[in-house]
């Protein structure tokens, strides 16, 4: 019995952390957020591709590394901690998972090796299956898609998109088609991309095994939720570390503010809230591959619970910094906002807890 990360997982995670520590500096994040250095995000992405993040989940027979979801979770944790300003969850976790479960043999052979070789990059838009907002929704007839998908993830530089209708059928579409309109949505999180996608008689290929079963799309969504939870853990840990460092350094009334219990207790609460999240998310990721009956239940609880803990940590860590926490100068808000997006994407806590309830019946 061993509950924890393997040496390989820790080693890979350290490499991602180290890379981001050197390249996703707060100055670079500010450049990316303001849009004044267009290639910076792509350069960082290329550096992460060199580490192999695109092939983690793709089976070896298709040119990938054939690793399990826990491996991807530890990478996602590092990306959240190091505020990785690049696509990850959609192209390298949700898309491969969806294609592995929903694709026919031919579809798998067609798409998976190209993801592993970085020829194809997928954005993913499954929001309407999870909870449809006003005026959104995709319909499929005569091999074509019509309608609107909201909050499609990681569309920047995507060659293809996976879109889903309310029934959970999954479609591959060409992101460069003339019949598609991709509208950039401006959220508070400037480190990742979210789009609205409008389809007008757009040619689409149905992933065959999603035709009659919602299991494939659920697999992909569960995997995505676990990644978002892991990303929020990483982001929360960074915020706690920064708050604790600041509380040791900053002096008022002649003493380090971290010696005041009002401040010290906020730090302790943050640590106590976050610590069990690691085990929950690792456990959920493990269940995804090794205990399918519990998979959805665990993924939903991981997403909801980490979202709640992270929201509270993001607030407290900012407060520990006092006025400085509120400034753009310090840049703490990039993590605050990333946590904010992770909470809402692929189902807010109330929605996923309801799914967890139904999953345990």
């Amino acid at each position: 019995m061993y509950f924890g990360l393997s040496e390989e997982q820790s080693f890979f995670q350290d490499n991602v952390k180290k890379y981001l520590g050197e390249h996703a500096t707060i100055d670079n994040i500010k450049h990316i957020a303001s849009g004044d250095k267009k290639n910076l995000s792509a350069e960082i992405h290329q550096g992460l591709l060199n580490l192999g993040i695109n092939g983690l989940l793709i089976p070896e027979e298709f040119g990938g590394l054939g690793l399990d979801l826990l491996f991807a979770a530890v990478v996602s944790e590092a990306l959240g901690g190091g505020i990785g300003p690049t696509p990850f969850i959609a192209p390298y976790v949700m898309a491969p998972t969806a294609i592995i479960h929903a694709g026919s043999k031919i579809q798998q052979e067609n798409y998976l090796p190209k993801i592993a070789a970085n020829e194809y990059r997928f954005g993913v838009g499954f929001s309407e299956f999870i909870g449809k907002r006003n005026d959104a929704g995709i319909t499929f007839s005569d091999s074509a898609l019509n309608g609107r998908a909201m909050f499609v993830l990681d569309t920047n530089n995507a060659t293809h998109l996976l879109l889903a209708n309310e029934k959970g059928q999954i479609f591959v579409v060409d992101a460069k088609s003339a019949n598609i309109e991709i509208v950039n949505l401006i959220t508070v999180d400037k480190t990742r991309h979210y789009s609205e996608v409008i389809c007008k008689n757009l040619d689409a290929e149905l992933l065959e095994n999603s035709s009659f079963s919602i299991d494939p799309i659920n697999q992909a969504i569960d995997a995505g939720r676990i990644m978002l939870a892991a990303d929020s853990i990483g982001a929360s840990q960074t915020m706690i570390n920064k708050a604790v460092d600041y509380a040791k350094e900053r002096k008022q009334f002649g003493r380090a503010i971290g010696s005041f219990q009002a401040v010290k207790h906020m730090c302790a609460e943050m640590a106590a809230d976050l610590e069990p999240c690691y085990a929950l998310v690792w456990h959920a990721a493990h269940c995804h591959n090794h205990s399918p009956d519990e998979s959805k239940f665990m993924a939903c609880h991981a997403k909801a619970h980490v979202s709640e803990m992270s929201k509270s940590i993001a607030k407290k860590a900012t407060e520990v910094h006092g006025g400085m926490g509120f400034t753009d100068l310090l840049g703490l808000h990039y993590w605050f906002k990333r946590i904010g997006l992770n909470r809402q994407i692929l189902g807010s806590p109330e929605l996923v807890r309801e799914e967890a309830y139904r999953a345990q019946l």
């Binding site: 509950f3 393997s6 040791k248 010696s259 106590a272 690691y278 085990a279 619970h305 806590p349």
Partner: protein, 407 residues
Amino acid sequence: MDLEYGPEYQDFTKEVQNFCKKYKGLSFTDRSNNPLGSSGGSGGPKMSRSEWQKILIEKGYFARSVPKEYGGYGGEADILKSRIIAAEFSKAKTPVAMGGQGIDMLVPTLLEMGTEEQKQAFIKSTLHGEMIWCQGYSEPNAGSDLASLQTKGELVGDEWVINGQKIWTSTAQYSQMCFCLVRTEPNAPKHAGISYLLIPMDTPGIEVRPLVDMTLKAGFNEVFFTDVKIPASNIVGKRGEGWAVANATLGHERGSLAPPDATMNRVNMLMHLMKEETLDEKPLIEHPIYRDRLMQIQGKVLAQQSHALRLLSAKLNPGADVKLGKMIQKLTGTELRHELEGLAIDVMGEIGTLYEDSPHLKNEGTWQFIYMYFLGLIIGGGTSQIQKNIIAERGLGLPKEPKIEGA
């Protein structure tokens, strides 16, 4: 990550399951001193708690790694077997072994630091449930600041003469013995002046006065010592080393106050209740607000259960850094249990306020009782605020509060 225990443990699991089947419906002929202790089932064998204790030791289901000569099973410590025993007993609702401060705190301390005579004299009868202990630590003026305790012990000839007062002393009214912190070196710095003494409760000069708590069910006591004389050899560790000895046992206590598996059992019990009980003719579980609150708590308990697996794994595979992970257990475990019991009261509304032997009581009134009882556990054994100091200072390295002169 590997959550399988391996084939040798499958056989052991079967063995434990068969044992639980054999004693299905076991009931006890005597009451438990522990307010959360099992009252046993019905329709099965009947015996005293001490007889049950002996059966569990013989099978190696309790006191597994305590040497035979001290009344234990004399086996290798096996963390996974302990976990299997706990899980199977819980599933089958088989009563677990008696606990209490003697078994949970004194025995590990004596095994680690006691003299051979002390081990021979105390461990066996304590494990067998024949010798009950109480813990004499807190005093009216030494609560969170325990090391400022003032109960005095003076060595006169070959006897300690003890004078002072202890408070919050659970089970003192049933106890044969007390493990007690006493100031024996009045001129030493406060932490270095304390000794760990073992005091027979029938010694002349001891007075036990009950101190009723808010549950009106469980009781503490105040214990007064007036010229109480005990042999000089009734000391664990050396003179002035009592603080270190006590800290070893506090560690044993903190981890075990609110195990997440027990909390999850209560979550399941509450979910069952919410399916049975109705509000406006609709089961409570179908009311979205109550349901969401339950699911929130279920998520928290699930996180603590996974966390407990991580800590278990760290025991089996030394090297993993779980120092912070261990420090949070008392704080998070007790707070969560209190929150859960409180939710059960909320979902029942007015019915949730019923107590004692009122008509319409649900689950024997345990929700109200444990809700209050856990407020006691949040305060006792190091308050939540003290826990946060520990986490912040020892876990995160934040500076201590500046000391006030003379404190």
